[in-house]
């Protein structure tokens, strides 16, 4: 599965960067969403993907039975998802506000509005 995921994550990065290179600011936002998903999956994948062994401890035990998935990578990704949402929400509202003020969504036009 990791091998296929390597290609999928690579594809997500490519898609994200392609969208970020567009002039429309809405496409930039789409690129951001793709990029945060790509980065989360990257961390998740390189930590090793283990199926059917959540990092939970049964009552009475002190360690999980057998091999369990990497809890640290999961915690990191969980944090990253939430932060990513915060950034996205802020960016989207900022863009909307900028559009209201300068009446442009083409970043090349936005760049020159303060001249």
């Amino acid at each position: 599965m990791e091998v296929v995921m390597a290609f999928v994550v690579g594809g997500l990065y490519a898609a994200a960067i392609y969208m970020m290179l567009r002039r429309s600011i809405v496409k930039l936002v789409i690129g951001l969403v793709l990029l945060s998903n790509a980065a989360n999956l990257l961390i998740f994948t390189v930590a090793g993907m283990t199926s059917g062994a959540p990092p939970l401890i049964a009552p009475g035990d002190t360690v999980p039975e057998g091999v369990s998935a990497d809890p640290l990578a999961q915690a990191v990704v969980l944090t990253a998802i939430v932060i990513g949402f915060g950034v996205l929400a802020f960016a989207v509202v900022l863009i909307h506000r900028a559009y209201e003020v300068v009446q442009a969504d083409d970043m090349d036009q936005m760049k020159d509005t303060d001249r």
Partner: protein, 766 residues
């Protein structure tokens, strides 16, 4: 020792408060510290003059084997006494000279910090500590030169001094590191005993050149001499201090200090002797044709620095003895003369020798000590300057090679030196009375006269009894420069010999030159035009070039187009990762396709399809829906691979994201086709390179486990330490609780930002 140096910095911090408390007497109160330090350093004198050298060390960065160590021997003690002794007069003098200046408190801070840095520099035994103090003197002197910061020239020339000395400092740093490698130690006291090893080392030539650049820039040797007269933008007490005992002598100190380790080779002799001699002549020549009071003195300092460098380069016993005697003589008369220059400015408002004349009746005490100091500058018997000059001429005449050219420059310098001394010692005081900008009503106050009086008198005392200076310290100082005891001695009368003849001749010739000063200056007017092509021109050209370069790179890199920033970042990342992978021969293990299950294929197919649709669609709603589909598929991947909590979070966040995007994006215009096909192909190429790089990265790390993961710690400690059975949750709220707290802050800030932006819009509409 450590506390002695720290005390200057501590007092510097407290100086503004002391100044407010003590008011007019602040100069005297703050002067107590340099005076106390002077006495403290004097206590080392008996041991040092009997030839001992004392090393005192404190651990500093024990892990890096760096200790804060101090070396007290003849050379460093001579400097320390000059710095603290003259420092006392400077602080008291400044208290009166700058009286009423609203920034006087700030002035005390900087001058005391500068004094501490200078003491640290000359006393440090550890090369790293020495370099730190070296740079501190550059920075504090920058603040001192730019003290009148409302004056554009002061700012400009403070910056010039900073650039030249810090540029040299950079070269010095590299040189010092090589010196430590070659000498096998960071301690000067050990390197100095390892001279032969250093001189034979393969790094000897590069390290010598780098250290010389550092020393030459600091000590204003040709072609770096231009910054020193420009530093006259500083208040006069600063000039007096920088020129007499400190800053510019730091380079000379470095050369003298390293002489036992680096000196004695042909290149050392040739470079130092030639640069020193040329600097010496350039300095005195430019001094002779200047008329500004401080400018004449500044150029004569350049002469003195050149003389010292030349003498250290010649390196014979007589030369080193002469260097130390000349150093002391120069510090005494130059400190006195600069303070006199300050009095001329303060009492008579005169900044130029042409504005002065016949002032001896108005300023009798000042005049007396000024003349005494000027006699020492001119090398007239029986002052200490004469003793030093005789020895200097003797050393030059006995130089092992280059004798002719050094002797010629030395004789010319002696003649012009006498003329310069006459300008300083005769012009303002004798002759017809000239109307100065301010009419002096009384002589200078005691605080301003104390310095010139004591320093000029010492010049006379040491001249009449050279043994006093010699046995006290000069001999020990010359011994530490030579690295071996010195047999020579200082004397006022050497009998009738060549140096005496040259002295006598230079007195007459210099006198004639002073008599014909006006005509000589007119005849030399061409120098001004030639100076426009001098090294300072090069400095300004370089600065312009620097500005042009930064304008160009700002235009190119900071062009305001987001996509070019992204391209640069992506290209750099892909390039660096690619090169590193090549260098370390990172390979990709065998690809294992077999283990795929049918539901995995289905999920990934949906993921890729959503992604492609989001990129390719022209419909905003379609793109948002595709993003939603992609997000939920990713959640499915998390759930399938044992990350239930992450999956739940992803579902919640994805739902919110879709709602947010639908609400906001529909207030924006629809997609337009803004780019040409060629641009799209280029961007797709860049994107694919980066994506491919990420794929390779993941594949190459799959089998690589360079060290055990720290996850096992969390798994083992979850129940015993964290009292939780869901390990991910325990990590989030217990082991890495601060991360989570930070995350909450980020979300709160984002929420406040969003709220503020929406609210301001509402107010705009009202």
């Amino acid at each position: 020792m450590l506390y002695a140096i720290l005390s200057t910095f501590l007092l510097a911090a407290a100086a503004p408060a002391v100044h407010r408390l003590t008011g007019r007497a602040s100069g005297w109160v703050l002067g107590l510290l340099p005076a106390a330090l002077f006495v403290y350093f004097l206590s080392f004198l008996p041991a040092v003059s009997s030839g001992e050298s004392i090393v005192l060390a404190w651990p500093w960065l024990p892990g890096l084997d760096i200790q804060l160590s101090f070396l007290v021997d003849g050379l460093s003690l001579l400097f320390a006494l000059l710095i603290s002794g003259i420092g006392f007069f400077i602080v008291t003098y400044a208290g009166r000279y700058l009286e009423g200046d609203r920034d006087l408190g700030r002035f005390y801070v900087i001058i005391l910090a500068f004094m501490g840095s200078m003491l640290g520099l000359v006393l440090a035994d550890n090369l790293v500590a020495m370099f730190v103090f070296w740079e501190l003197t550059s920075i504090t002197s920058y603040l001192l030169i730019g003290y009148n910061h409302e004056n554009a020239d002061a700012r400009k020339y403070a910056l010039q001094g900073l650039f030249v000395t810090v540029g040299g400092g950079l070269a010095l740093l590299a040189g010092i590191i090589m010196l430590a490698m070659a000498g096998g130690s960071w301690e000067l006291s050990e390197i100095l005993n390892n001279g032969d090893v250093v001189r034979e080392h393969a790094l000897y030539l590069p390290l010598l050149l780098l250290i010389l650049i550092g020393a030459f820039t600091k000590s204003a040797q040709v072609p770096f001499h231009f910054w020193l007269p420009r530093a006259m933008a500083a208040p006069t007490p600063v000039s007096a201090y920088l020129h007499s005992a400190t800053m510019v002598k730091a380079g000379v100190y470095l050369l003298a200090r390293l002489n036992p380790s680096l000196g004695g080779t042909d290149i050392w002799f040739t470079t130092l002797a030639l640069f020193g001699a040329v600097t010496m002549f350039t300095g005195v020549f430019l001094a002779f044709r200047s008329t500004g009071v401080k400018k004449v003195l500044a150029y004569s300092t350049v002469m003195a620095l050149g003389t010292l460098t030349m003498l250290i380069g010649i390196g014979t016993e007589t030369a080193l003895l002469a260097a130390m005697a000349f150093l002391l003589a120069h510090s005494l008369y130059k400190g006195a003369l600069f303070m006199v220059a300050g009095i001329l400015d303060h009492e008579a408002g005169a900044k130029d020798f042409l504005q002065t004349g016949g002032l001896r009746s108005a300023l009798p005490v000042t005049a007396a000590f000024a003349i005494l100091a000027a006699l020492s500058l001119g090398g007239v018997i029986p002052l200490f300057g004469f003793v030093a000059k005789e020895l200097m001429l003797e050393a030059v005449l006995d130089a092992p090679s280059l004798g002719g050219i050094l002797a010629l420059l030395a004789v010319l310098t002696a003649i012009l030196g006498v003329a310069v001394a006459a300008i300083v010692g005769i012009r303002p005081w004798f002759g017809p009375k000239v109307d100065t900008p301010k009419t002096p009503h009384h002589d200078a106050p005691v605080a301003m006269l104390a310095g010139p009086a004591v320093l000029a008198s010492l010049g006379l005392i040491f001249g009449l009894g050279p043994g006093l200076a010699d046995e006290g310290l000069i001999n020990a100082a010359a011994a530490s420069v030579q690295g071996a005891p010195v047999d020579g001695y200082l004397a006022l009368w050497h009998g009738i010999n060549w140096p005496l003849a040259i002295s006598a001749f230079s007195l007459v010739a210099g006198g004639v030159l002073y008599w014909r000063w006006e005509q000589a200056r007119r005849a030399l007017a061409w120098v001004d035009r030639a100076a426009e092509y001098g090294p300072e021109k090069g400095y300004f050209k370089m600065m312009d070039g620097l500005v042009a370069l930064s304008e160009w790179q700002t235009r190119v890199l900071q062009n305001g187009y987001l996509r070019y920033y992204v391209i640069v970042i992506v290209a750099m990342t892909a390039g660096l990762v690619g090169v590193t992978a090549q260098l370390f021969d990172v390979g990709v293990g065998g690809l294992d396709w077999a283990a795929l299950k049918i539901h995995e294929v289905a999920i990934l197919a949906i993921l890729v399809a959503s992604m492609l649709f989001a990129v390719l669609t022209r419909s905003r709603l379609g793109a948002v829906a595709a993003l939603g589909s992609l997000g939920f598929t990713v959640a499915l991947v998390y759930v399938l691979y044992s990350a239930a909590d992450v999956g739940i979070t992803q579902v919640l966040v994805e739902t919110l994201t879709v709602i947010l995007l639908v609400l906001v994006l529909f207030r924006l215009p629809g997609f337009l086709n803004l780019s040409s096909t060629a641009l799209r192909v280029r961007d797709a190429g860049i994107a694919l390179v980066m994506g491919g790089m990420i794929t390779l990265l993941i594949l190459s790390t799959l089998d690589a486990r360079l060290f055990p993961s720290i996850s096992q710690y969390f798994i083992d400690e979850s129940v015993p330490s964290g009292y939780g059975r869901n390990i991910v949750n325990v990590v989030l709220v217990d082991f890495r609780a601060l991360d989570t707290l930070g995350e909450i802050f980020v979300l709160a800030l984002a929420a406040i930002g969003v709220y503020a932006m929406l609210r301001f819009r509402a107010e705009d509409r009202r």
